[in-house]
Symmetry: C2
Subunit: 204 residues, 2 copies
DNA sequence: GATAAAAGTTGACCGATCGTCATTTTGGGG
DNA sequence: CCCCAAAATGACGATCGGTCAACTTTTATC
């Protein structure tokens, strides 16, 4: 009887094995997607990157789409945690905007540096995914906009559109930032923040 | 001898046939993509939507990706024509911004109404394509920003980022607009224009 | 028009992938 | 040690992707 058994804390061998297999598939998928591109990769390519059999793949995911979404959701989850940590107690709208954008661009740069972004040289297109985490981030940004912008500064503004616009700005500018070699997070962040702050007329 | 033969104006029978086949493939592809979704459709599905043989597909396109890009490029080309027509002689930055956004949102609504947008109910993701037309639109927007914004109003602004931000705003807000049932083009257009105009401090 | 070259179409074919499922292996409880 | 449930395995039929030799249609030449 091991300590783990006594404590009844450690997962069973089965659970550990399942977690390891799932992790192996995701890790292999990340590499294969980066090597071959999303469209060109097959489920077989992914499973060949592990020591599992082809049938086992389908015990964990229905398709490569689902693997891709899991990878995206994972990134979104980590970003969301950072976001909540950084922006939870922003008092003013401007502070909230600056923190959010700074967090996002720093996150992007980190993801790229750690090879977690599928950056193909030819990169003809990326997938936009609507995972639960992605939707949650959108909702949180919108409700935070409603909270910090409130009805005082710009009561007529459509909070849904403002959230969409902010996300669009961050997304596109973030992409351009990554294409530049310098990865000047502060410049990108300040550019977007200034645009939004001045755009809603909410200067501190 | 037909009138066309005499006038030597009509394209040859071969050219007409090729154009018709290409058009048949694109038309079938649009319907199949809409029905099955991009990932699920196969080249066979597309070709089954025409009266051509499977091998013929490859005389026109290398893959379904190329078909999809051709569809996207087609939309982009039509939008670009509208854009140049509407915005060619905008004198001020504000006028340029308002015309551009209005053209874009009206175009989006028209595309949706005429069934040219791949709008799946579940729509888990869309593809972002970097076709020549798409790149041309980005370059034109940026150079127009440089021209009309000039060095007078906001000399420090990064025109590349401003173009990216504007496109991001239009893209995301446009998507939200389509999700709403009303398709209030004027509201979406005015929202985005106000945001950008105030954001760069270029009020007329 | 007759003929031949060129261009285009066809569908069978091969290698590979997809998703399934009967079989085997592994893990946990008694 | 035995047994059952959970999980892994890989073979299998159906399908797809891309090629290509044979065939049909169009154009050019006389």
């Amino acid at each position: 009887m091991t300590v783990a058994d006594i404590l009844e804390i450690a997962e069973s061998k089965r659970e550990r094995s399942k977690a390891a297999n799932r992790h192996a598939i995701l890790t292999a998928a990340r590499r294969v997607f980066a090597d071959l591109g999303y469209d060109a990769t097959t489920v077989r390519d992914i499973i060949r990157g592990t020591d599992l059999a082809s049938g086992t793949f389908y015990n964990y995911f229905k398709s490569k789409e689902e693997v891709f979404e899991a990878l995206q959701d994972d990134s979104a989850h980590r970003f969301r945690a950072l976001l909540q940590e950084q922006c939870a107690r922003a008092r003013t709208f401007e502070e909230f905007v600056r923190r959010t954008l700074d967090t996002y661009f720093r996150f992007l740069a980190d993801e790229l540096a750690s090879g977690r972004i599928l950056q193909r040289p030819d990169a003809p297109f990326t997938h936009r995914v609507d995972t639960p985490e992605m939707k949650a981030i959108f909702r949180e940004v919108r409700s935070e906009i409603e909270r910090t912008l409130g009805r005082g500064i710009a009561p007529g503004l459509d909070p849904d559109y403002l959230a969409a616009a902010s996300i669009g700005i961050a997304r596109e500018v973030g992409e351009r930032m990554l294409l530049r070699r310098d990865n000047d997070v502060d410049h990108a962040s300040a550019f977007c923040a200034d645009l939004i702050i001045k755009g809603v007329g909410a200067h501190a």
